[in-house]
Symmetry: C2
Subunit: 429 residues, 2 copies
């Protein structure tokens, strides 16, 4: 096993079925080579941060409060930081009180703690299909049975969700959680429409659902548009997860959970058993960044960077992709989800892609049930506009050759993809 | 539940049986009042750090490597930091290679990941009695059955361990882990003697044991004495845990595990599922601190601070404690473990102690089996020498009154303590 890939890629490697994790890890390790345009990793563009301001903030925290910053803190996280995070939520119109919040080591620890709190082995958790690989990891590590609901350009298909809820109810299976990333979903690159948010809230009331709302990308809408959160619609039914990883920096590992107080109390105890408390130093750096720096302007800068890259990628895709390939059109954040014709397996294709000096993440890592073999994720946050165009062109050439080959072998009757999601796949892309 | 106590105290509150966790939490919350001398919390004396140097280190990391420091890292932790940690281990003569290490969010996350990796519900884990509350929490949260081995002034009683191993073997129960803190144990304040280390290593070979060696305090011996680690004696049978919390600062949440590679690989995957990766920013600060600052001199400074406080506490205890009370004499770190005569319950006594403006941690929190009702922990790392003397005097007055009361009620025939450890209690103190 290679341990020097990034932790996201490592998660994908574990989740991609049909190939061994070690083979996928070995391929991902190659994506760090400079000649390869990597659309694989999901790192935000921290180089667009005001690093001088970040240095001043870090120095001031140690200078003015060193003995506090270097000491243990409390399990729930500093009240001063939670005040600032409530402000960040308010910027998205998400209601919260400082007492509702638990500071976590990024969004990933939030998902892990929530999974540990709620999931008993065999419990059903509903999630979008595809969904965030780290969410599947956290749920699977507590032996949840993840059932997917397909998506389309308007996000989770709420009709399909309703059908699934009825089926599960007939099977007398209780749904422990519904996991959703309503804004600029990773990896789908789509957002839940307003009408569907309202229907989801109604379904939650009718079926007594607890919703795990994961919102890393809400502030990265290219047009600055803000949609109502599920927490806003049904506050008592939502455990909300936020993070500063995409609006400030992932290297401080700072996220949070906003939850009803009985749940919050359990999460604080689990957090203390996991690692006692968040690092006081990074908490104080984040809190000072948010309190003293123009962070809303910084978020606008990130949006601009991603929008330019999104346009480059979408333009290049339209110019180079052969017929039969579809993809989503993100209006925020940094993911494009692609579906290729049946007969092409995106896990098998990865080695060829790397040979063509371009990398992506195969689709199977984003499903708990082994589907997604004809899908893949492209992340455009890191490469430059020129490299994006180059990489898409290489991928287009590869897929053109590959599709010619499939058609030569199978004619018009290409086989179905290796596996399809249990609940039927949506029209994503 | 009060959430604003420190996370250690919160752990104790959860573990103290016989009183409700919320009652203990409420009492601990009072210990922050300035009029109370608190021997309860276990915070190291970070105010003895060179804070100007810490500021320079933090600023230089962001200035020179901001875009790396603020980005995601890899799950195992930075190789550059692991190099430095191998050096720290070498300072204690503990052999390790940079590939053996996994960086964790302090020692607590190390314990949690190891528990998650090895413990299935109902598995037996052997530990010293008393032992670190966070270790019990991590093991208990994975439903281990913790069996205690008593200690005396030379640490874990290896004869009693051998008896227990034979009994467990007759019961055909497999021991998953043996958890030990060989140096300046928390809460016992004693170290495992050289002869017993060797016998423990032999027993590990003979009984096919995996040892979880937790070493937060090894560098804090007042005389600078360094004892051989268990890892040094039987490297393939040890999962070793270190931390910079007591030699640099807990506010950076940086610890590590050194383990045989098949175990290391599993721990990296668990770590990624838990929170993806350690914070790059704090990793780089620790790595630069260790690489550029005279950290060995800093550790000597910490030792001097704790030695002075230890002498103050031991002097005050000898001067003020009534007959019938015993305590350990630490040769490093910052804990004294006290045993009071049967008939006094240290959990019940805590409210009176706080009324007397002195606080400690009741003994039951340090056992998994409800014993320790006649014991308590005093931590002297935080109060000044004057405050230590004042606090011990107050505790001495309280215990004198309390013992008079017990003798008046029961005469010479005081009842046994509420509960005794299953395996019989040692002569600790």
């Amino acid at each position: 096993m290679r341990l020097d890939t990034d932790p996201y890629l490592s998660r994908y490697a574990e989740r991609v079925q049909g190939m061994s994790a070690s083979a996928i890890r070995a391929l991902f390790a190659l994506t760090a080579r400079p000649e390869i345009v990597s659309f694989a990793g999901g790192n935000p563009a921290v180089e667009a941060l005001d690093l001088e301001a970040a240095e001043a903030v870090a120095a001031a925290v140690v200078r003015e409060s060193g003995a506090v910053a270097l000491q243990y803190g409390i399990g729930q996280g500093r009240p001063e930081l939670r005040e600032q995070l409530v402000d960040v939520m308010a910027h998205e119109h998400v209601p919260a009180h400082v007492d509702d919040l638990v500071v976590t080591a990024g969004g990933q620890q939030a998902l892990e703690l929530i999974a540990k709190c709620f999931v008993d082995p065999g419990d059903v958790v509903i999630a979008e299909g595809p969904t965030y690989v780290g969410g599947i990891s956290a749920l699977a590590s507590h032996q949840a049975e993840v059932r997917h609901v397909p998506m389309d350009a308007e996000g989770m298909q709420v009709d399909a969700l309703e059908d699934l809820l009825l089926r599960l109810s007939q099977e007398q299976r209780r749904v422990k959680l519904l996991y959703t990333i309503p804004n600029h979903q990773n990896p789908g690159g789509v957002s839940l429409s307003l009408e569907r948010r309202q229907r989801l809230a109604e379904l939650a009331e009718r079926h007594d659902l607890l919703i795990l709302e994961d919102n890393p990308y809400g502030l990265l809408d290219f047009a600055g548009r803000i949609q109502p959160s599920i927490r806003q619609l049904v506050p008592d039914r939502v455990v909300y997860v936020g993070t500063v990883s995409k609006t400030f920096a992932p290297g401080v590992r700072t996220g949070w959970i906003a939850a009803p107080h009985p749940i919050r109390d359990k999460l604080v105890l689990l957090r203390e058993a996991a690692d006692l408390c968040p690092a006081t130093l990074t908490q104080m750096i984040v809190e000072r960044w948010l309190a003293t720096q123009p962070w809303r302007e910084q978020v606008k800068r990130f949006r601009g960077v991603y929008q330019e890259k999104a346009e480059a990628m979408l333009g290049a895709l339209a110019a180079t992709m052969p017929d039969g390939i579809t993809w989503t059109r993100p209006s925020g954040a940094f993911y494009v989800w692609m579906t290729v014709p049946a007969g092409v397996d995106t896990s098998d294709l990865l080695a060829k892609a790397i040979n063509h000096r371009v990398a992506y993440v195969p689709g199977r890592g984003f499903y708990a049930d082994g589907s997604g073999g004809d899908q893949l994720r492209l992340c455009f946050s890191q490469p430059s506009v020129e490299r994006i165009e180059e990489g898409v062109e290489r991928l287009g050439e590869l897929l053109t050759t590959e599709l010619d080959l499939v058609r030569a072998v199978y004619g018009a009757h290409a086989p179905a993809a290796a596996s399809r999601p249990e609940e039927g796949r949506g029209a994503l892309g």
